[in-house]
Symmetry: C2
Subunit: 411 residues, 2 copies
């Protein structure tokens, strides 16, 4: 079987190595010899001393003329990946991709194209790196109604938040470390602003709830405005901060969002640190299942791609999956009564406390202790988010302040 | 599609309910109507007031003549399940089973029979209840060499040990509670002596290491000799006790065992309590993956069976899997240097301490604190198990005592 590899960055080179390493085992167990026949790269010169230089090309035409049986796309981003993938799918050639941007953005279209051409597009690696999650969700849990999906699904932000918490790093320094470790890209926007996580949540939620859920319709808040002081506050309150992706099926409508949350130390997420990811799926029959592992990185991601490859070799996935046409109605507030942390940034701390207490009191919202610095933290007990937001708006009418509110997640 | 259900106990009735509940969704998503046409039970009279009484039979002949397309077996045990399953496999009819005893005992034979008749036997539910584990291991991780498998995989023993630890229950009382909760069977031998866990470990390890591994070749130790005092000792040392299934791939040979271990409180297993199960798979590419959920129970197990059913409906599993003919060479000692707890039961405590210290010292084994009661506990630091066992044998030559040694598991 001839495989063409599009892209040879971290993931692509990992795939190349793993295929070389496992070729014999794949042949023994599945009766097919897998051979990488061409590798598409941007800068061909970079590889001129590579032992496999003859495999590299910067011409898509050469990929075409290598007549591949299977395409593995590891370029990332929408273009030109989209053009390459649609070319091969329309020829009936199966495509494996780790490209969450593309799947979240144009997944339905690609799945339809694959179906129309009697082939498939596989994308296990697009969510959770090496953690098997899409296939278990789609296949093993097919007899369940999925009721909620929660996840710490972006390794970069989890690394940054862990470093801030454990090593008292500043946000900037922690981001710099993440970049040095290869967890964060030079432009970290997609990670730190939550776009990577929301795309993965949209993919998971579409499959889980069997609905068409667009990532761009879901509220997304990243970690770039989490401060050192927030971490100090979290510690004093026995909380941690995580960037959480959460969605819930509410009688056929869906709430989904990515936002920083304060978690309690006995939350299942409290042990998920640094580059680790975790996904908790809740099904009506199976109850709660948790999947944990490295959510990114060269070999974990390549491992997921190899899983897809071996499925295709065995001709197991003959029908494209994950196409749900019915667009879901969305809910806009967190659907469960919850405790919250509200952070107020104000000019004059002194006069604030009593005013704040009064307004919460007037709205019948129970709150607890606060902390005096340039910032005031308030904990709100067991309220609906809508009511809290209304109250916060009333506060802003009376007090000049900036505020953010965060769920306290206990599960 | 006509389904015949063999057995209508906890699991069987769960499967019946889930199929009834999900029939419409299965039809919408996979284009097949699934109908349960016959249910084989032992005591027909028991169901005479059941609304579906006409589906029940105590005659296997009636199951045959119902001409099922798919068999779901939930009877458990070797006979008569084996006879029924072989009958249908030899007719080319696919079988889904939750029967870990049968799969661990005669799995290879059934897989060959299925293969020879161009059909399949599916058994995701046999390990980990509702936790998707066999499929992720076999398919998603196919591009990995699996290096180790650890698991808390028997809900009954985990429930008993948790109750002893958290609620200071005696072993007998905790077992009684487990039976009252429906976690333990009236004859709990298979659970408490570790046979259930070792069968599951053998199934996982065979798939993981692609070798034929017989459960009966693996050392198995249950929890029936864990005492209240052991629990007290564990607490004072910040340890917990778990029944752990552990196997490791050592250059093509395999160590595998079920045994009680002391785990540290920051072990990943420390949070896996009561009926919860967890499996940690380590692959050379993917690193460590952890899967957690309810490992048994009516609906979780039925959920796994439905996953298999929907695979069969989609005709996805056309080749039987999990047949590994090469018998593995086994290692007999825990393959990693480890800390241990050694429990000595002696007649005369007073004279013992210095003798014990001396013998450990002579063997160059570092130990730490002990505890005086009718029992003496010794902690041994970072030794090979073989050396520890040799030393313990020397001790028995000099001191009349009973002893057991337990790994301290830290991961």
């Amino acid at each position: 079987l001839k495989v063409a590899l599009l892209g040879y960055g971290t993931i692509g080179s990992g795939v190349f190595e793993l295929i070389e390493k496992n070729n014999k085992i794949i042949n023994e167990n599945y009766g097919h010899n897998v051979e990488i026949v061409k590798i598409l790269v941007n800068r061909l010169k970079k590889y001129k001393n590579d032992a496999n230089f003859n495999l590299f090309t910067d011409q898509f035409e050469e990929i075409k003329s290598s007549k591949p049986d299977i395409i593995i796309e590891t370029i990332g981003g929408i273009l030109p990946a989209y053009d390459y993938i649609t070319y091969f799918l329309s020829k009936g050639i199966p495509v494996i991709t780790a490209n969450k941007d593309l799947i979240a953005e144009r997944g339905s279209e690609l799945i339809i194209l694959a179906k129309d051409n009697n082939t498939i597009i596989s994308y296990e690696a697009s969510v959770g790196g090496g953690i098997p999650i899409l296939k278990p969700l789609q296949e093993c849990l097919a007899g369940n109604e999925i009721t909620s999906i929660s996840a710490v699904i972006n390794g970069t932000t989890n690394y940054i938040l862990t470093q801030m918490y454990e090593n008292n790093e500043t946000y900037d320094k922690a981001l710099e470390n993440a970049q040095a470790m290869g967890f964060a890209e030079s432009d970290p926007t997609s990670d730190v602003e939550g776009f990577d996580a929301i795309r993965k949540l949209a993919i998971l939620s579409s499959i889980g709830y069997k609905k068409n859920i667009k990532w761009s319709d879901l509220p997304t808040q990243g970690i770039s405005n989490i401060t050192d002081l927030d971490i100090v506050y979290a510690k004093t309150e026995n909380l941690k901060i995580k960037l959480m992706a959460y969605s819930q099926n509410i009688d056929g409508t869906v709430y989904g969002a990515v936002r920083p949350v304060f978690i309690t130390l006995n939350s299942k997420y409290a042990q998920i640190n640094n580059e680790y990811n975790a996904v908790i799926l809740e099904g009506d029959s199976v109850g709660e299942l948790m999947f944990t592992g490295k959510g990114a990185g060269k070999y974990p991601t390549a491992s997921a791609i190899l899983g897809d490859l071996i499925d295709i070799i065995q001709n197991k996935k003959r029908y494209p999956e994950g196409l749900y046409e019915e667009v879901s109605n969305l809910q806009h507030y967190y659907p469960n009564p919850s405790h919250y942390v509200v952070r107020f940034k104000v000019d004059e701390i002194d006069s604030l406390t009593s005013k704040l207490f009064n307004i919460f009191y007037e709205h019948g919202i129970k709150i607890s202790r606060m902390q005096d610095q340039s910032v005031v933290y308030v904990q709100v007990f067991s309220e609906n988010e809508k009511k809290l937001i209304d109250t916060l708006e009333s506060i802003r009418e009376e007090i000049t302040c900036d505020y953010s509110h965060y769920i306290i997640y206990e599960k």
